[in-house]
């Protein structure tokens, strides 16, 4: 509270801190209440006006009344919505309570607050302020009584007793005002939040929006990270391994007069280096195939199909002149789906002799279907491969379906929204 100590309010510092805080709070509550009364008075008066006009038409028909009504009722409606913004200002600047800006959908709640609840609160505010003024007047009765002509004091000699009672009553009322004001403010905040505040469904909707955005960010970030690792591996380890295998190959080809044991060692090292290259290549492809970025989904998938250990029929039907290209993260998921599905078929569907991959774009949906002619019975709830696959599909709001009756065939169908 150091700021409060600066001039020109230096004298405030001389008040004990607890009292000072209480006074500051009281000042705030009274200002809030007064502003509230002003705002609530408008609909109160309008209500009164309209009611009087209506009563007037019943008891004493006046040809001008409909004209005045035609003016006053719209005014009431305007007040029902128009007062919301001043109310938001009142809550924000005087109380530090932020009410959300309501859109047109909240019109019903705004009418309810401004035209029904508001006037009731206005009555309470009026009572509080009236009590404050009356208490002040009573407490200070011995002061202002001196403004009364002295003849009156002479004529009413016994007034001092009454005045003393009044002063005491005023002081008691004054002591009650801070508590009452704080209670009223608390009530107003509660009501304001409940009626004008965020409803549960609004809050949930906003939360869903936030979560969707942050999840898309996370998916993109993971994607970018995979790309970076792929690039690093390509520039580093892959080149080194190829160079190593090449040198071993050169040794094998040139050092023909070595003892057989040594040749065997070189042979083994050469084989292992080549295996390591293969392993690293498939690891890199699993991360994020560079070909996906450079030449797109179609090309990347035909590479996958060609490397699969069983014959794969691949049909990719992507219109070349799409208005917007599929989001890279979605393409990566589609690639991952086909890659995992083919690996899965090769590993688990032992009786499968062939697989079929179909990728089509239906409007905003990228549809990937992988089928095999194995004996079926695949269960996504078992096996981490299918589960991981489904999770990755869900991460971009896709749907994952699998049909694998015992006896086959197995079909997996994945639908991905193309835009994120």
């Amino acid at each position: 509270m150091a700021a409060a100590g600066r001039a020109p309010y230096g004298w405030i510092m001389t008040i004990p801190p607890r009292l000072r805080r209480a006074l500051v709070r009281l000042r705030r509550d009274i200002a809030f209440t007064a502003a509230g009364l002003t705002l609530h008075l408008v609909p109160l008066l309008l209500h009164f006006w309209v009611v009087m006009l209506l009563l007037g038409t019943v008891y004493d028909p006046d040809p001008e009344t409909p004209v005045v009504l035609a003016f006053s009722v719209p005014l009431l409606i305007v007040a029902g919505v128009g007062l919301t913004e001043p109310q938001r200002w009142r809550f924000r600047t005087l109380c530090g309570v932020e009410l959300p800006r309501l859109r047109f959908t909240g019109a019903k709640r705004q009418f309810g607050y401004n035209l029904l609840i508001g006037p009731l609160l206005g009555v309470l505010e009026f009572l509080l302020l009236a009590l404050l003024l009356a208490a002040l007047a009573a407490a200070l009765v011995l002061v202002w009584v001196w403004l009364v002509p002295w003849q009156w004091r002479v004529e009413h000699r016994g007034y001092t007793t009454t005045a003393a009672y009044l002063t005491v009553a005023g002081l008691v009322a004054l002591a009650a005002v801070p508590g009452l004001a704080a209670g009223l403010v608390r009530l107003e905040i509660l009501v304001g939040r409940a009626v004008l505040g965020v409803s549960r469904s609004d809050e949930l909707a906003r939360r869903v929006e936030d979560l969707t955005a942050s999840r898309a960010g996370a998916v993109d970030a993971a994607d970018a990270e995979r790309r970076r690792i792929e690039r690093d591996l390509h520039d580093g380890a892959q080149q080194r391994l190829v160079s190593l295998a090449l040198n071993l190959g050169l040794a094998k080809a040139t050092l023909t007069d070595l003892p057989p044991e040594v040749r065997e060692v070189i042979d083994a090292a050469h084989r292992e280096a080549k295996d390591a290259i293969e392993e690293l290549n498939s690891l890199v492809r699993g991360l994020h195939p560079a070909v996906l970025d450079e030449l797109g989904l179609d090309a990347a998938l035909s590479g996958l199909a060609a490397r699969a250990p069983l014959p794969v029929r691949l049909r990719v039907d992507l219109p070349p002149d799409l208005p917007q290209r599929t989001a890279p993260a979605v393409e990566a998921v589609a690639y991952f789906v086909v890659s995992e599905a083919l690996t899965n078929i090769a590993k688990h569907a032992r009786e499968a002799t062939r697989a079929e991959v179909t990728v089509t774009r239906l409007g905003e949906i990228l549809r990937v279907v992988v089928a095999d002619d194995g004996v079926g019975g695949a269960d996504p709830s078992k096996g981490s491969g299918l589960k991981g696959l489904a999770q990755r599909v869900w991460s971009v709001d896709g749907t994952f379906r699998m049909s694998s009756p015992v006896g086959g065939p197995t079909m997996m169908s994945v639908e991905l929204p193309c835009l994120m």
């Binding site: 160079s243 050169l250 080809a253 050469h270 560079a290």
Partner: protein
């Protein structure tokens, strides 16, 4: 296994474009072992094109992914070499196989073209064989390229082939000679010739004795090549 130290009638010249210095050193050794004189080494596509203009080599060995973009600079450079210097044979080395690159390279002419995975350089003898084949005006396609092409055509006529005939077709598409196919499959050359006749008949392809014309026909059937 071909004789590595076979004498060549004249020393043919080669340029090598590869941005990884480590790998370039190894590549130079292998290309020299194949009997070429390496007249220039380039680190990117610009240097490669300049070197080809300057030296008019018989062979260019080109990495696909090079600076500055690390995407397909090598392929684009190779295409421009094939347009401007058709006498220079081009062997592309790539980290992964992309049939579209192959299709582009083979679009006009299948002679003097090679497209291999980078890791194939480790099999020194086979790589040397491929280098010589390409420089001689032949074709060298990576088995994986062929596999991708076969996936694309995994349709009607191909299904009439037996498994063994499909193997032979793939090796033909790689650009191998009858002897090369026989060695790979460990069968006699006459058996290979029989398979080839069957394949050509089943696919309605013209009979051709010259290796590269046969490759042309097969690749054309697989949807690439002019």
């Amino acid at each position: 296994m071909p004789d590595v130290k076979r004498a060549v009638p004249e020393v043919r010249r080669a340029v090598i474009a590869e941005d990884s210095v480590l790998l370039r050193i190894g590549l130079v050794k292998v290309v020299e072992m194949a009997g070429f004189e390496v007249v220039a080494e380039a680190g990117d596509a610009q240097e490669l094109l300049a070197a080809v203009e300057e030296h008019r080599p018989e062979l260019a060995v080109v990495d696909v992914r090079m600076p500055p973009g690390f995407t397909d600079e090598g392929v684009r450079a190779a295409l421009s070499i094939r347009r401007q210097r058709p006498d220079t044979a081009v062997l592309i080395l790539s980290q992964y196989v992309e049939e579209r690159y192959a299709a582009d390279l083979l679009a006009t002419n299948t002679s003097g073209v090679g497209y291999l995975l980078k890791q194939r350089v480790a099999d020194v003898e086979e790589f040397i064989e491929a280098l010589r084949r390409v420089a001689d005006g032949g074709t060298a396609l990576d088995p994986q390229v062929v596999a991708q092409l076969l996936v694309r055509r995994a349709s009607d006529p191909l299904e009439r082939l037996t498994a063994r005939e499909r193997d032979v077709l793939a090796l033909m598409a790689e650009g191998r000679s009858n002897a090369g196919i026989a060695a790979q499959l460990v069968v006699s050359e006459s058996a290979v010739a029989k398979h080839i006749n069957n394949i050509l008949a089943k696919l309605d392809l013209p009979k051709a004795d010259a290796d590269h014309r046969r490759v042309l026909a097969v690749l054309h059937f697989l949807g690439v090549g002019g």
